[in-house]
């Protein structure tokens, strides 16, 4: 590394404390949802923090939380592809999306569905979300659990807000479908 390395690394370290550490809970939360378990999530977060630290010299960060989550999701996808390739479904697959969207709103006994959804317990919600393809799961976690705005989610997944909206809509349709039709 150049002679300037020590100085810039000091800057990176300071920015790390200010920009990354405050969002460690959300980083871990997202990693846990994406990997599906705690131990893998810890590996991913640690790896993501290394990457964040290494890039903080040069990075221009407008929205620290979205930036941290972007690194976490990218790290998680890389990590899953390497270590858990069978679990990773990175599909924006038209068929899957169509089947979710094809179910006409209000087709059958809407009130029964609504109360079933409202009564879903933690385990049912968790397994329904965990069962979503990753690209839907991540936007639902960021928006509905972590409370990011569309703009922040868009920054985190590196896609336009329209994509965020359609993935949210389709992910939620899948959840409504699953939770509303439990026996």
């Amino acid at each position: 590394m150049s002679a300037g390395g020590a100085v810039t690394s000091e800057l990176a370290r300071r920015r790390f404390n200010e920009m990354v550490l405050p969002h460690l809970d959300d980083a871990y939360g997202l990693a846990r949802w994406l990997t599906g378990n705690r131990a893998d999530a810890e590996d991913v977060v640690q790896d993501a923090c290394m990457r964040a630290l290494a890039s903080l010299d040069a990075a221009i960060v407008e929205r620290p939380r979205a930036w941290v989550l972007m690194i976490v999701r990218n790290t998680a996808f890389t990590w899953l592809a390497k270590n858990r390739p069978k679990t990773l479904v990175l599909t924006d697959d038209a068929q899957l999306l169509e089947s979710a969207a094809a179910k006409e709103p209000g087709a059958a006994t809407p009130n029964a569905e609504e109360s079933l959804i409202a009564a879903a317990d933690e385990a049912a919600l968790e397994s329904a979300i965990q069962g979503l393809p990753h690209l839907f799961r991540e936007v639902i976690v960021m928006r509905d659990i972590q409370g990011l705005s569309y703009r922040e989610v868009a920054a985190a997944i590196g896609a336009p807000q329209g994509t965020v909206m359609s993935r949210l809509a389709r992910g939620r349709a899948l959840l409504v479908d699953k939770l509303g039709s439990r026996a």
Binding site: R14, E113, V176
Partner: protein, 266 residues
């Protein structure tokens, strides 16, 4: 893909997420009133959102992970055998710097802005960093006491000059204790007050002179407020909402003014 404004389903989601402006909300409400199927869909989505909110809280990172990440950021070179390929990023100079900085943290002194004179931005950065560190370490104070008559002499033993320490328990901000932060090259006394599960760290520095109106800011999601009073600059940072930090500042200024009235004239 249809544009969001044409697709009533996407509009429903945007309405639910509070992402529509007033005109958009009116349009959605009209559609809901006119279309029972759409209204039923909206009710299902609202039920889903409420269920997720109520039953799937945000996760907290385990303390052990937090500790590892903090350690990694402080002294990255020798630790982390799991990823030795990255060790080259940090040269020896960095490691020794990091070690001395880590020592500074152990001593309870702030370590930020050592190289630059404290401009306003440096003050904010330093006090926010001190606040975050205090929260993370679970040790926000070096002297823990709710008695201001203990904090004040403790601070006086560490730094030149008297620090304003007031009791705000009656205002709902009990004192937790005090510590020394470093802003620029200067040690500054910092008091920590409690509000429910939140904390407020208040640092006192040499100021511009005349009393000023409070100035507010936010930084990395934390609320900041600072003001000049009787030749001193006060800067407070908290994870409280800005309105409550305002209330804290007002209470502190009131109590500090009352104490100056009572103090014997030099």
């Amino acid at each position: 893909m249809t544009s969001p404004s044409d697709d009533p389903t996407l509009l429903l989601h945007a309405a639910l997420d509070g992402e529509l402006d007033a005109a958009g909300m009116i349009a959605v409400e009209r559609r809901l009133a006119a279309d029972p199927a759409l209204a039923a869909e909206y009710a299902r989505l609202a039920a889903l959102r409420d269920a997720i909110r109520a039953r799937l809280p945000r996760t907290s990172a385990p303390d052990s992970l937090r500790a590892r990440v903090i350690a990694m950021a402080q002294a990255p070179s020798p630790a982390k055998p799991a990823a030795p390929r990255r060790a080259w990023r940090f040269d020896a100079r960095y490691a020794s710097l990091a070690a001395s900085l880590a020592l500074g943290i152990v001593l309870g002194a702030g370590v930020y802005g050592l190289l630059a004179p404290p401009a306003d931005d440096d003050v904010q950065r330093a006090i926010v960093a001190g606040f975050v560190r205090g929260r993370l370490s679970g040790q926000p104070v070096d002297v823990a006491t709710s008695d201001r008559h203990t904090v004040k002499p403790w601070l006086a033993g560490k730094i030149a000059g008297a620090t304003t320490v007031v009791d705000l328990k009656a205002d709902g901000f009990p004192l937790v204790g005090g510590r020394i932060d470093v802003v620029g090259k200067n040690p500054v006394p910092t008091l920590v007050y409690q509000r429910r599960e939140h904390q407020i760290a208040l640092s006192e520095m040499p100021g511009a002179g005349a009393a000023s109106e409070p100035r507010r800011a936010t930084r990395d999601g934390y609320s900041l407020i600072e003001w000049d009073d009787a030749g001193r600059l006060y800067a407070a940072v908290s994870d409280l909402p800005p309105a409550e930090l305002d209330a804290f500042a007002a209470a502190f200024r009131r109590a500090a003014a009352a104490e100056r009235e009572d103090a014997p004239k030099p």
